[in-house]
């Protein structure tokens, strides 16, 4: 068992599960979407990106790209959330909430691709 592989796979799968957990629920209902879960999803996604740094293989480049997509989606979602809560002055509206959740849905897709790539890599290495 390779410790590095365990950590790598752990974070990638965790990014997917956290993202999925946040995404579940009615799209415009703030009650269904926990802010702590969202925070955890962003942090884990960033860690995933850092873990993928410096891999020169083609698969590594693809995984890096999916991770960057997920980061981008989540950061934009966080910006919208921050704007709605703090700057807009009216608090979280259903329309803002739905854009946050739909952006996180996009990140979810990217994370799924990332996990698929991880599985492909694992299957290819028959050791």
């Amino acid at each position: 068992m390779n410790k590095e592989k365990v950590i790598f796979a752990f974070f990638i799968v965790l990014a997917l599960t956290l993202n999925f957990g946040f995404f579940l629920g009615e799209i415009d209902n703030p009650e269904h979407h926990n802010v702590f879960e969202f925070f955890a999803a962003i942090v884990v996604s960033l860690i995933c990106t850092a873990l993928k740094f410096g891999d020169r293989t083609h698969l590594g480049a693809l995984m890096m790209a999916t991770s960057l997509v997920a980061d981008l989606q989540l950061v934009v979602a966080a910006l919208i959330w921050g704007y709605a809560e703090q700057v807009s002055g009216v608090g979280m509206t259903p329309s803002n909430m739905s854009s946050v959740v739909s952006l996180s849905g996009g990140a979810l897709l990217a994370n799924i691709i990332s996990v698929i790539l991880l599985m492909v890599e694992t299957i290819m290495v028959r050791r």
């Binding site: 925070f39 850092a50 740094f53």
Partner: protein
């Protein structure tokens, strides 16, 4: 993508993860720890404010406690996070700085910029492996002719000296690396379209061999020139088609033996290949007779072979007791003492060759020998380039410096492939013929350097000539020798050889008519080459030289001329 970025990212992986973790834990702490607002109500900081606070705290900007003054619990957490974030930053910045200061990183950056420079070359260039004495001379000479080169040397200081030398009109990319590695050669443009030749000039035969093989495998038709110091490597290099193999000892031995039996032919050769040619008067010295060779090493034995072929009488002086005593006229000793020299009968010899591998010994030999016999022709071998000054003032008739010899030989080949052919053919002529030729050369160049070059009559190199020939006008060789600014004047040059349909015509007449495909070897002052190119490329100039009139293309003058 490039190596540098990957190395940077790989090193930064851990510091970045540390930073993300420290920041997220700090933010989470501020969100979870209960605070009190300005009215005394309990409140929880939200993520937005927590991120804002940690951001300015972590970067030690410190705007104060916002949005409300902190409780003691929050302050305790702030204390913890201040140190944690500062340490995380130091770790990250420290890693980057350490990476930048690493020599490996610097080498990678330099390699990258080298590759970029080589790829950006749009003109033909030579790949020079080994930037020693030879490499430096060749790169400079090529540069003066406007030909670019790319340099590889394993020694860092050589590459530094290349970068700071300011006597070239353009930048010569240099890389400090082992030239025997194929990827280094590839980066240096071995597969580049514009790489017209590879010169393997390092002082390690194995490296030269691998450079030559790599080049011949990738592009068999491209010129490869290699230096070598042993006969086995020479044979090996020639076996796979290396265009020119230069063994400095052998080349110099041939040169000296020519000097010993045909002084004028020797001078012609010397003037053609050596930029600092010897004065005409030096040929008057007596060179026919018995010679003494001190030091029977690589140089000595190569000399012995050459001299023996020309039936020159020889005496060998060597201190090595294991030396094969089968040689005739062998004298044991170093040659630095008068005793050994008188045993070798220096009084009635015509020349002495100090060819040991020790510079001080060599100088001592010729000085002692000259005291014993004033009229002796002295030849001294210089092993270390730094001793140049001493050797220059030694008043020896010939100084043999391997670096310079290889450079001259290689340049003769690069200047024109016809030059070596000419040198070979001229040896069939006698010394009187050479004397006449020498006088002609002397009248053309006077004190300046005698340059040589070849021109080709074809579409690419001389479009004006071809156009003129196609229009049915006969152009003879003499036209090329007229000054394009004034046709009554001649250029300081004359033709040495005309190569037409596999026939080499030595010293062709000026009335020879040119044909497409002809190649002519000229010698003269180097500025004449530029004027000659003018004639060959500009139709109007050529027309003027042939007829004395400016050709007139416009309608008005054509009408006027008709009347």
């Amino acid at each position: 993508m490039n190596n540098v970025l990957y190395a940077l990212l790989r090193r930064l992986r851990l510091p970045l993860i540390t930073m993300i973790l420290v920041y997220s834990v700090s933010i989470l702490g501020f969100v979870l720890i209960p605070g009190v607002d300005d009215q005394g109500n309990a409140y929880r900081m939200d993520f937005f404010h927590a991120f804002y606070f940690v951001s300015f705290m972590g970067s030690t900007i410190g705007f104060g406690e916002i949005p409300y003054a902190f409780t003691d619990g929050q302050r305790m957490w702030t204390l913890f996070t201040i140190y944690a974030t500062v340490i995380a930053w130091l770790y990250g910045i420290g890693t980057i700085l350490a990476l930048i200061q690493e020599p490996v990183f610097g080498r990678m950056l330099r390699r990258r910029s080298f590759v970029r420079k080589v790829q950006g070359i749009t003109e033909p260039f030579y790949l020079v492996c080994g930037y020693g004495v030879t490499g430096e001379i060749i790169v400079n000479k090529l540069g003066q002719r406007g030909i670019r080169s790319v340099v590889i040397d394993i020694n860092e200081s050589k590459i530094d000296s290349l970068e700071i030398s300011g006597n070239l009109p353009f930048e010569v990319p240099g890389l400090c690396a082992d030239a025997s590695l194929p990827d280094v050669l590839d980066d240096a443009g071995l597969q580049h379209d514009k790489c017209v030749g590879v010169l393997a000039l390092t002082n390690v035969d194995q490296v030269n061999l691998s450079v030559a093989i790599a080049s011949k495998l990738l592009r068999p038709e491209r010129i490869v020139i290699s230096r070598t110091e042993s006969d086995t490597t020479t044979a090996n290099l020639l076996s796979f088609g290396t265009d020119l193999v230069v063994d400095p000892f052998r080349v110099y031995a041939e040169y000296l033996s020519l000097a010993a039996h045909a002084p004028y032919t020797h001078l012609v050769y010397d003037w053609l290949v050596n930029p600092y040619h010897r004065p005409l008067s030096s040929a008057y010295k007596k060179t026919k007779g018995r010679w003494i060779i001190c030091g029977y090493g690589r140089f000595g034995s190569a000399l012995y072979r050459e001299f023996n072929e020309e039936h020159v009488e020889l005496t060998v002086v060597d201190s090595n007791p294991e030396m094969d005593a089968g040689l005739p006229y062998m004298v044991r000793g170093k040659g630095t003492e008068a005793l050994t020299l008188s045993e070798a009968r220096v009084e009635d010899a015509v020349g002495i060759i100090a060819g040991t591998n020790n510079d001080a010994d060599n100088l001592s030999i010729i000085m002692t020998a000259r005291e014993m016999n004033k009229n002796l022709v002295t030849v001294v071998r210089q092993n270390v380039h730094a001793n140049k000054l001493v050797f220059k003032n030694s008043k020896a008739d010939f100084i043999m410096e391997p670096g310079q010899i290889i450079a001259n030989r290689v340049l003769a080949h690069l200047k024109s492939p016809l030059l070596p052919v000419f040198i070979e053919q001229m040896q069939a002529y006698d010394d009187v013929w050479a004397h006449t030729l020498l006088n002609r050369m002397n009248s053309v160049t006077q004190e300046e350097e005698l340059d040589s070059w070849s021109v080709r009559v074809d579409e690419e190199n001389s479009p004006a000539l071809i156009e003129m020939l196609n229009s049915g006008v006969d152009v003879n060789l003499g036209v090329l020798l007229k000054d394009p600014r004034d046709r009554t004047q001649s250029l300081s040059a004359f033709p040495l050889m005309l190569h037409t349909d596999d026939i080499y015509d030595i010293l062709p007449g000026e009335l020879d008519v040119l044909k497409p495909g002809d190649e002519i070897l000229f010698c003269g002052k180097s500025k004449s080459l530029r004027r000659m190119e003018w004639t060959m490329n500009n139709f109007n100039t050529l027309h003027y030289l042939l007829t004395g009139n400016e050709p007139t293309g416009n309608l008005l003058s054509r009408i006027l001329n008709r009347q």
